[in-house]
Amino acid sequence: MKKSTLHILLGLLTAAYSLTSCEDAINIKTETGPTELVVDGWITNKPGPQTVRLTLSAAYFDNSPARPALGAEVTVIDDKGTVYAFTDANGKGIYTWAPKSDTVALGRVGGKYALQIRYDGEEYAATNEIKRVPKIDSLAYEEESFPINPPEGPKDGYLAQFYARDFVGLNDTYWIRPLKGGKPYGTDPGNISLVYDASFSPGSPSDGLVFIQPLRQSINVNQLFSAGDTVGVELHSITLESYYFLFQVRQETTNGGIFAVPPANIPTNISNKNANGKKALGFFGASAVSRAETVIDPKKARPKE
């Protein structure tokens, strides 16, 4: 229950400071380290093309677009020995594998995958696997009003939630990705919604439960829905390693204020085959996806509690 409850609490506490506190952007000088290869790859069991984007890291305050890493050799091999070649057809560092038919998927539940990259004389590798994902039982919504006009969305609208149940057995981890109008929204790293069994984090047994309410409602990202909106959710099954990667992404991108924790590096699962070779950043993820969508119909809304 914790991480998010904690976030809510600390958010509340921080709100108490807002009477006097202020934040403004300033210029600071920081040291820059050597450039490294960045791997942005995530495969799923959804039919259709899969991509791995390769770029180079830059100075922290360098806000120009990331330079693509070109001329790399990118392949994914699964536990059945199938090799999937990813190619950068447009020379933009976006390496794509496309199936012959759009109904064919690369990923399969239970499959294990190895990503291999040859770039600039170095050989990098990463592995991941696609775990089981529960089906989404239903999507529901109820009328809800904010006491004041919110910065986004309507003041009087609908609060949606989805129902899904964690598998029995410890250590299932999931990533909830909210959809609006059929597209992902609320994709800020600070809004990453992670599930550990049916709750927020390990350590407290929530195994086998229906996802707890704050998780079910995490598809409302800082706003209510209006009648006629299409609300939806993609539930991704992820490995524990992916869970901690995303956890750290969220932490390092929302780590300000009075209750900040010491900044730390976001972990990577990309390793150089030569232990003394150049390091790489980023992550190779894999997931199975459950998806559900519905159109908000005021007649079907549950009465307000």
């Binding site: 006097t20 994709t187 984090s201 229906v210 209750f259």
Partner: protein, 789 residues
């Protein structure tokens, strides 16, 4: 246990030996009190002119001197009070209680420290700061709320992470390493509203003492400092009502004598009232919003007879936040009962028992409207203790203190239940138990007029007790999470899981250079068995106090300090320079994705290492005249070395501030008007900034290629505060006295950074920027009205 027996035997032996050789003399002893309200006076100098020797009164105002038969003059001196001389003919042991009158009203108000004039130079105490409550009242305060902890932060060697952060840091120790005592009971969380206001009601506080080094043997349990806050006893002469209306709190204190002045009591209450004022403006759901904090302090004392006095005191404070669908509250409660007994004119006993509790509770739905989806969580730590402290006034040159303490800990780190769609899970953590026993003995010995020593030894024994599930942890990689070896071992109730014992030697000495100058040196070792697990810049009310276990070892500190003390101009000015070095063992840090709450395997998320702190403190204080105050400059370093952090290299602690300067001035302009000002300058605190960015999933993410911790520093901090206190000319309702306090915090409107951090722009997650976060970003004026009947 063998060690305890040994030390007990040693003390008895020592006492017997000393007893036999101190016979043909007589003892004069008694209490020194304030004539105006009967409060015992702490630290009054009692000087015997004929014998050129003297003592000071203890925390209860008691003194005792043993001298050969004869006629003597006892001279009682105390800053701000009229000197008092008592003639005694010593041909038998006798009791002499005295009452001292304060000097003229005007001078009383400018007293900066109530103590013996040259105590600074003469006493064995070093690294000790006393601030009189009257001074604390005159220092400009944030929002006009007089605050003990904020005043402490103006002293040398004391820093804070930033405004609004709870607690304070002493000589490189973290916030949880200070033993904060309120009438001898430890206070686990010293703040209201996170760190904005401290829990001590200034109207009920009598004396504040901060011990940063040379810690005497009777104190133990925390490794960095002792903040000893003594509550007023209550006026034994007449009824007194004090109160005030401030920006944040309203206060009311009532004092009254009973049993013809043999007893008295005090009750003091404070409550914040923002919510009361806001209520009419809130609509709909917000009407249910609760937001307040309050505290209640009470104390009663009764003198049974000449030899026995009893005291009972209590504190209860709470912060409450909530709305109709969410409730959150936390607070401390303490209760202390004490018995002062005079066995003989030479042997004084203070027996203390206390109960101290800190707890918080969170409820997702306090009105229980949706029982199908609910979350409830409570956390609590309770300690109960008994603590006899004896003082044996052997000769004027030897004052022996000995005693012990037993503390029992009952920690319930998380009692929680989660309900999802009607299914309920109990996700509580096991309670943890432990106890701490200590025995100590110490002597303050005057070898000659110019040379005195204080030496002592404390032995503490901690036991982590069952029942409980005990785990070992497997380390895969330094600096990363360790995983428990399951299923662990079940330990039965009362069985010892792990035991730690520590000898804690304490030593200090004073070498007089002249009547106005001395050199002092001290060494002390301290051990701490209770740890606050907190990975945030400021500690939060949710942080859990955790007992030492098979994995969490006791924290140990060794400190040496050397100081030069000099008074000028008939003790108008006192100056000191101190240098210190502190070595810290078994310090706690955290893995990067640590999960410290409701985690049964929390020990796997802890990292351990050591710390070091060193510095020089320069202090100049003016005690007399219309202008009083002090200048303080500290040059210091605080570093940590933690396995798996910062490439296993030393890094500055989060609260490390190399330069720290404060100036405090209080100017008594007219009889009715006092002006005051404080100025603070401090180096910026350390920060960790990334060296590079990388793009992932449309996000620009930070990365530090060197994997460094605290590799940068945020801009420095400086602030000026002003205050004016104006006493009303007219008597309030013809009886009482009123005063207005006007204050301005952050007078030149500086945006002092609390922290600087990097983030992606809110509108464009691919744009990176650095953000300066200021807790107080503007001038804060305030008016307070105080009254007294």
């Amino acid at each position: 246990m063998k060690n305890i027996v040994r030390i007990a035997g040693l003390s008895i032996l020592l006492l017997n030996a000393l007893n036999t050789y101190a016979q043909e003399k007589y003892t004069v002893s008694g209490y020194v009190k304030d004539i105006a309200n009967g409060e015992g006076l702490i630290g009054v100098s009692v000087y015997v002119r004929e014998a050129s020797t003297g003592v000071v009164t203890n925390p209860y105002g008691f003194y005792s001197i043993t001298l050969p038969e004869g006629d003597y003059s006892l001279v009682f001196t105390y800053i701000g009070y009229q000197k008092l001389t008592e003639r005694v003919t010593l041909n038998a042991d006798q009791r002499r209680n005295v009452e001292m009158a304060s000097e003229s009203k005007q001078l009383e108000e400018v007293v900066i420290s109530t103590k013996k004039e040259d105590e600074n130079v003469r006493s064995l105490e070093m690294s000790v700061n006393k601030v009189d409550i009257k001074t604390i009242r005159q220092i400009p305060a944030l929002l006009g709320e007089v605050d003990v902890i904020r005043s402490i932060q103006l002293l040398p060697g004391v820093t804070t992470v930033g405004e609004g952060a709870s607690g304070f840091n002493v000589r490189g120790g973290d916030v949880s390493q200070n033993l904060i005592l309120l009438d001898e009971a430890p206070v686990y969380n010293s703040s209201h509203l996170f760190g904005f206001f401290s829990v001590f009601n200034p109207d009920a506080v009598k004396d504040v003492k901060l011990i940063k080094g040379g810690i005497p043997a009777q104190y133990g349990g925390r490794i960095s400092s002792i903040l000893d806050v003594r509550m007023k006893e209550g006026n034994t002469k007449k009824r007194e009502i004090n109160g005030g209306i401030g920006t944040i709190f309203s206060r009311l204190t009532y004092e009254q004598p009973f049993a013809a002045g043999r007893g008295s009591f005090i009750v003091a209450a404070r409550r914040s009232y923002i919510d009361v004022l806001a209520k009419p403006f809130l609509k709909g759901d917000l009407k249910q919003t609760r937001f307040n904090f309050y505290d209640l302090t009470a104390k009663v004392n009764y003198r049974i007879n000449d030899k026995n006095t009893v005291y009972a005191s209590g504190y209860f404070g709470r912060d409450v936040f909530g709305a109709d669908v969410f409730g959150f509250g936390w607070g401390n409660g303490t209760a202390t009962a004490r018995w002062n007994h005079i066995f003989s004119n030479k042997l004084f006993l203070n027996l203390t028992t206390y109960y101290s509790n800190y707890d918080y509770s969170i409820n997702s739905d306090p009105n229980n409207q949706t029982p199908n989806d609910r979350f409830e969580w409570n956390s609590k730590i309770i300690s109960t203790s008994v603590k006899p402290d004896f003082t044996y006034y052997l000769t004027p040159n030897n004052q022996i203190s000995f005693g012990g303490q037993y503390i029992s800990y009952d920690s319930r780190p998380g009692d929680a239940v989660a309900v999802s769609s009607g299914e309920s899970r109990n996700i509580s953590l096991d309670s943890r138990f432990g106890d701490e026993s200590a025995l100590y003995i110490g002597n303050e010995q005057k070898i000659s007029d110019r040379f005195s020593l204080q030496y002592g030894l404390r032995y503490s024994l901690y036991r982590n007790l069952g029942p409980g599930q005990v785990y070992q942890y497997q380390e895969l990689q330094p600096g990363e999470r360790k995983f428990p070896v399951l299923p662990g071992t079940a330990v039965a109730k009362g069985e010892v899981i792990k035991q730690y014992g520590n000898w804690e030697p304490r030593f200090s000495m004073n070498i007089g250079l002249s009547s106005t100058a001395s050199i002092k040196a001290s060494y002390n070792r301290t051990a701490q068995y209770l740890h606050l697990l907190s990975n945030t810049a400021a500690t939060s009310p949710l942080d859990v106090w955790t007992l030492s276990t098979n994995i969490i070892k006791p924290e140990i500190a060794d400190q040496v300090a050397l100081g030069w003390f000099q008074n000028f101009r008939d003790n108008t000015y006192e100056a000191s320079v101190e240098v210190y070095y502190k070595d810290l063992k078994n310090q706690i840090d955290y893995v990067r994705n640590s999960d410290l709450l409701l985690n049964r395997y929390v020990e796997g998320d802890l990292l351990f290492g050591k710390g070091r702190a060193f510095g020089a403190e320069f202090f100049l204080r003016k005690n007399k005249g219309r202008l009083t105050g002090w200048l303080s400059y500290t040059l210091a370093r605080t570093e940590r070395l933690i396995d798996g952090v910062n490439n296993d290299d030393w890094f500055p602690a989060r609260f490390d501030k190399p330069h720290n300067f404060t100036a405090v001035g209080i100017y008594n302009l007219k009889e009715r008007l006092t002006l005051s000002s404080t100025f603070t300058f401090a180096s910026g605190t350390p920060a960790t900034f990334p060296t590079n960015r990388f793009e992932y999933n449309g996000w620009a993410l930070p990365h530090n290629v060197y994997n460094a911790r605290n590799n940068n520093r945020i801009p420095s901090y400086n602030r000026l505060d002003l205050a004016a206190t104006l006493k009303s000319r007219k008597k309030l309702f013809g009886l009482g006295q009123g005063e207005w306090v006007f204050s301005v915090y952050n007078a030149y409107n500086r945006r002092n950074p609390y922290s600087v951090y990097v983030q992606q722009n809110e509108d464009n997650p691919l744009t990176t920027e650095a953000i300066r976060f200021s807790v107080i970003g503007s001038v804060i004026p305030a008016v307070t009205y105080n009254f007294k009947f």
